[in-house]
């Protein structure tokens, strides 16, 4: 038994790899969902905006994966993580894998995730790792644009027409059971927090809730019940049925032609 426990014992290398992959998976999957709007935005400006934000997230993910494989040191390429893992190996939050829904659903999720990322990046820009700090500082600048963009739309849709109001309200109600996981932390987080290599999300939970509450109230929306049942398990690789379909589309070409080269 002791050997089995030993092999599972966390090291700085293992924990950091896992932590970076979790962060990257969230951003890759959300970026992919946003990219589905390309050519389908309700107006040209939003089509462009959502495609831009998708690029930012996929870029964040690429940076994080690249650093993760470097830390792993087994010669893997970042694309190996993207194209050759199955859904139980993906550690993204279920919130980001839900289908894009209507514009209201996409915007509601963008607002929750970018406001969360805002606080997260603030903490990550202070940790004891120069490479992470550098990339997070860049992501932080970009996420401010995302937050401003989604918040303005929440106000416009919530305090807009009867239809826009009811759609954005439905969106928040429908995704609410998935927001609890944003603050899930386990031994990976704790191990790294002790070394100042990870952010303690609990420290900004109440600030984040205040920001969400203030914005929804300003938009004349009801804040769903924070104490309702919240789903769990994403960081252990448990997902909704939607992730498999997303991965099938994203990975199909690469797996069919694994040695294909663009150049």
């Amino acid at each position: 038994m002791s050997t089995a426990t030993k092999s599972k014992e966390l090291t700085k290398q293992k924990a950091l790899f896992e932590y970076l992959v979790r962060l990257a998976d969230d951003r890759l999957i959300l970026g992919h969902r946003l990219s589905e709007w390309c050519g389908h935005g309700p107006i040209l400006e939003e089509d462009i905006a959502l495609a831009n934000i998708a690029l930012d997230y996929i870029g964040h993910a690429a940076n994080l994966y690249e650093y993760a494989v470097e830390i792993e040191g087994e010669g893997r390429h970042r694309d190996d993580l993207v194209y050759f893992r199955n859904d139980p190996e993906y550690k993204n939050l279920k919130l980001v894998e839900l289908p894009k829904g209507d514009f209201g659903f996409t915007i509601a999720r963008q607002f929750l995730f970018s406001s969360y990322s805002y606080y997260l990046y603030q903490l990550l820009s202070d940790i004891e790792d120069e490479q992470i700090r550098g990339m997070v500082e860049k992501h932080f600048k970009e996420v401010k644009y995302h937050l401003r963009h989604s918040r303005e739309w929440i106000l416009r849709l919530g305090d807009g027409t009867e239809e826009s109001h009811s759609r954005i309200q439905d969106a928040f109600n429908d995704m609410w059971t998935y927001v609890g996981e944003l603050f899930y932390q386990d031994e990976v987080d704790e191990f790294l927090q002790e070394k100042n290599l990870a952010a303690d999300t609990a420290s900004f939970k109440s600030d984040w809730k205040d920001l969400v509450t203030d914005t929804l109230e300003e938009a004349t929306l009801d804040v769903p019940d924070w104490n309702q049942f919240m789903v769990e398990g994403s960081r252990q690789g448990l997902h909704t049925e939607h992730l498999g379909h997303l991965l099938a589309e994203m990975q199909h070409l690469r797996r069919s032609y694994p040695d294909a080269d663009w150049e």
């Binding site: 400006e45 930012d56 870029g59 860049k138 401003r148």
Partner: protein
């Protein structure tokens, strides 16, 4: 035969000024502050670059163009290193580069401002952006996102022209 030893740091820096941003071809990677440093060690040339936006699709093309420029000039032993330890900012853009941008029809970025109060207002810069065509300040933000990650879209109410602004980050 030309080898890396025939070039010194400054000469390589000059070569890099021929590498243009594929999306804004009036600016070189030096104008933009993407090229950070050139070092020559034991005959090996190391070019350190830092990406502008995380997802900028031009980065790959820029890396390739750097490689091509070095090779054309007979430099075989080199490495292009991506570095995230410092964060790219439009403040690294020279005045000359900003003038080139304006002449090209893109309103250049101003100096970055501290935004410690960002969450209180959640507002962007309140500064006025001048139209690159007629210099009017009677302009309006249309969208914070434009044709590339680094630009936003504006409209000039005096000359009735839409124009792009290089975001200030």
């Amino acid at each position: 035969m030309a080898t890396a030893t025939t070039y010194n740091k400054n000469e390589i820096w000059d070569l890099l000024s021929e590498v243009k941003d594929p999306e804004i071809p009036v600016l070189s990677i030096i104008d933009l502050g993407i090229a950070r440093e050139v070092t020559v060690k034991d005959g090996k040339v190391i070019v350190r670059i830092t990406p502008t936006y995380s997802g900028c699709p031009a980065m790959k093309a820029i890396e390739k163009d750097i490689e091509k420029t070095l090779k054309i000039n007979g430099i075989q032993n080199f490495e292009v290193k991506k570095d995230f330890s410092e964060t790219w900012t439009t403040d690294w853009m020279s005045d000359d580069a900003k003038k080139k941008l304006k002449d090209y029809g893109i309103a250049p970025p101003g100096k970055t401002e501290k935004d410690d109060d960002f969450l209180k207002t959640l507002k962007g810069s309140s500064r006025t952006i001048s139209c690159p065509y007629c210099d009017s300040t009677n302009t309006e933000l249309q969208s914070e996102f434009g044709s590339t990650a680094c630009k936003s879209q504006y409209y000039c109410h005096d000359c009735d022209e839409p124009f792009e602004h290089f975001k200030c980050i």
